[in-house]
């Protein structure tokens, strides 16, 4: 090749998943989430573009914030089993702060000698509302300043509160239930969205999202 080891400088598309594992997810929902995630990873593995550039990080939040999968390239990614306690609070605010620190440390920006990553994408899924509202409110401007290519929030199930999610992003998807087939649909759409992430765009513009399937209600 042209003398430069291109592979080292490859432009990455970092995608962060922030997943609610609070007590209310216990049982069928967490099982459905694991299935849907595994399905999504398999779909992405067969996508030429994703296989070349996608990096995935999974952070879960309940009483504790856990980085269950640190930012890893799809090629080497191994999906961990996501578990949740039987009860406990939803520390989404703390999770968002944790996420911002991770993004700041991990996502590479362009310099004359470094290839910048694609704008990172963020997917948040919750079936409730933040228990740590103070921290949550503080996190909102921080998340906005991160310059994500897209922030998609998914409020799953009857108890999920859209209004908190709407403070975070304009793209809020509401799922009536957090069952197997609905979550699968959602994560299929997530993989479509990810495929939009690595395209050239104007500075300051965000990633345009594909049409969601009819099962997902886009909250206006």
């Amino acid at each position: 090749m042209g003398g430069l080891p291109t592979i080292i400088f490859m432009r990455r598309l970092p995608v962060y998943f922030l997943l609610d594992t609070s007590g209310s997810m216990y049982g069928e929902p967490i099982q459905a989430l694991n299935n849907a995630l595994s399905g999504m990873i398999n779909t992405l593995r067969s996508d030429a573009q994703a296989l070349d550039s996608l990096w995935i990080s999974i952070i879960t939040f309940d009483r504790e914030i856990k980085e269950v999968a640190p930012l890893t390239e799809l090629v080497s990614f191994q999906l961990p089993e996501i578990t949740c306690p039987q009860s406990g609070p939803t520390n989404m605010g703390e999770a968002l702060h944790f996420l911002c620190d991770k993004v700041t440390a991990e996502v590479k920006k362009s310099t004359p000698t470094q290839k910048g990553d694609w704008k990172p994408l963020l997917f948040i899924m919750t079936d409730g509302s933040p228990s740590d509202i103070g921290l949550f409110k503080e996190a909102i401007p921080k998340v906005k300043a991160m310059n994500f290519g897209a922030v998609v929030a998914c409020a799953a199930g009857p108890k999920a509160k859209d209004e908190y999610m709407k403070e975070l992003t304009n793209t809020v998807v509401h799922l009536d239930t957090a069952d197997n087939s609905t979550l699968k649909q959602f994560f299929k759409w997530v993989s479509d969205t990810i495929e939009m992430g690595n395209k050239s765009h104007g500075t300051g513009e965000t990633v345009s999202l594909p049409e969601p399937p009819s099962e997902l209600h886009l909250v206006i």
Binding site: M1, R11, N42, S110, D117, S200, E205
Partner: protein, 467 residues
């Protein structure tokens, strides 16, 4: 105390029939009785067997529940994984074998605990790992170990032709070569794999023209934004718009003064001539760029679509040979470089700066009105007067990204010479572009060269070389 005696004592205590002091002698005699001793021995043996059996069961359960992670493989890429018995605490695990590897093109070496080979099939697989425990007569036990084999990324790319009759259609690949004044030009523009994979159009474009009466040559290259719906039309309008503008305006009054300015500049370079040149560039090339913006705006209006749907970068160069050398005038917006190598190939001159955002893919476009108002607009023009040059190249980021990677690399002549060597056949595919002026196949050679494989770089590729 003998084993049977202490066992007996514990048994009696547990059952609440302690041996009172007056019965010590009786107990001793009972314990020493061969029948009693024999029974105790048997019980102890049974106990030991039960204990051992339980330990085996429990050990097997532990081994089977232990997380064994082996790295993912990729079809066609040599694979090497170790099941690290030491680390897993499996010193007692022997006579191991693994089933399920053969169909993946892999093999297990029980002595080294390694899985090696070159995977031939992709998928999410469960291998069956069989083993025995050391020092135990037993059947082979089994558990699963997960192994993910990624498909070969090259095999996933589809090449779906774009619809020939769709709106704003253009050919997927183009390659041309020809005379350009006393130089030659070769240009190839190729649809990127990311577009070929989904059957969408090439967003890059180019155009060139030699204006016979004035001896000026114009070359334009543009890269439509991947995120904009009809940017393929935007890049086309931008390139053709530049050619049309100069074809119409160079013969006119405004352009004629450049000959005189350049002549004075060549004879006696001064601040005064420099200033006049800058003013000329700003007015004439700036007007050309603005005319393109206006055309795009008008098109957007007629098509009832926001102008951002036409987002495209644009670089162009004007070249004319004078008795005192070659004058090269340039303009650029976006992330497509223009580089000129001197005659000896010892120096590279970059004729524009790149609009690069802090994140990948972020840039500026000719469709953004704010670029014309920005104080930096004046710095988008370039001018060089040189005796001669070996290569003048205009390229889109589809070439620049894989071949130069970052801006800093563009400044180093070594990288340009490596790039030339690459074009001359020093590449994995061994494809050579022959720059001999007599070579009639140069366009198809450049087009073939442009199929080079570079992981993560699947954008449209356009390269124009004046030589």
């Amino acid at each position: 105390m003998s084993d049977s005696k202490s066992f007996l004592r514990t048994l009696l205590d547990k059952k609440g029939t302690g041996v009172t002091p007056d019965k010590h002698a009786l107990f001793d005699a009972f314990a020493a009785d061969p029948d009693t001793e024999n029974l105790c021995k048997q019980i102890l043996e049974f106990q030991n067997t039960l204990m051992a059996n339980w330990q085996i069961k429990s050990r097997i359960a532990d081994i089977n529940a232990q997380q064994v992670i082996i790295p993912n493989g990729t079809v066609g890429k040599p694979y090497h994984a170790v099941i690290d018995f030491q680390k897993l605490g499996w010193k007692d695990v022997i006579e191991t074998s693994v089933t399920g590897l053969e169909q993946l093109g892999l093999a297990y070496d029980p002595t080294a605990g390694t899985i090696t080979g070159t995977p031939t099939a992709s998928g999410d697989n469960k291998l069956i790992f069989r083993y025995k425990l050391a020092g135990v007569a037993m059947e082979q036990q089994e558990r699963t170990i997960a192994i993910v084999i990624n498909p070969d990324p090259k095999s996933l790319w589809k090449n779906i032709p774009s619809p020939a009759d769709g709106p704003y259609h253009k050919p997927d690949d183009m390659a041309v070569a020809g005379q350009l004044g006393d130089k030659r030009i070769v240009i190839a523009s190729k649809r990127g794999r990311s577009h070929a994979n989904v059957g969408s159009y090439r967003d890059d474009d180019f155009a060139y023209k030699h204006l016979d009466d004035t001896e000026w040559s114009v070359v334009a290259v543009a890269d439509g934004a991947g995120s904009a719906k009809i940017s393929r039309k935007g890049s086309e309008i931008a390139c053709n718009g530049i050619i049309d503008y100069f074809a119409a305006n160079i013969p006119g009054e405004a352009f004629s003064e450049i000959d005189a300015i350049l002549k004075t500049h060549a004879e006696a370079k001064s601040d005064e001539t420099q200033k006049k040149l800058s003013a000329f560039l700003y007015h004439n090339l700036g007007k050309a760029a603005l005319s393109v913006y206006k055309k795009l705006e008008e098109f957007a209006k007629t098509a009832e679509t926001p102008i951002k749907d036409l987002h495209s970068t644009l670089i162009f160069a004007l070249i004319k040979k004078y008795s005192f050398g070659y004058a090269i005038l340039t303009f650029g917006v976006g992330d497509c470089p223009i580089g000129m190598m001197n005659k000896d190939k010892t120096e590279i001159t970059l004729l524009n700066w790149l609009d690069v955002g802090e994140f990948g893919g972020g840039t500026r476009f000719i469709t953004m009105p704010e670029i014309f108002q920005s104080p930096k607009f004046a710095t988008r023009f370039g001018f060089r007067l040189v005796d001669d040059f070996s290569y003048l190249m205009l390229m889109t980021d589809g070439i620049y990204d894989p071949k130069f990677v970052v801006e800093a690399n563009l400044e180093k002549i070594d990288n340009w010479n490596a790039f030339l060597a690459d074009l001359n056949g020093k590449n994995d595919e061994g494809i050579k572009v022959d720059f001999d002026p007599g070579n009639k196949d140069i366009a198809s050679q450049l087009s073939a060269w442009m199929d080079f494989w570079s992981p993560g770089n699947h954008d449209d590729r356009t390269l124009a070389i004046i030589y």
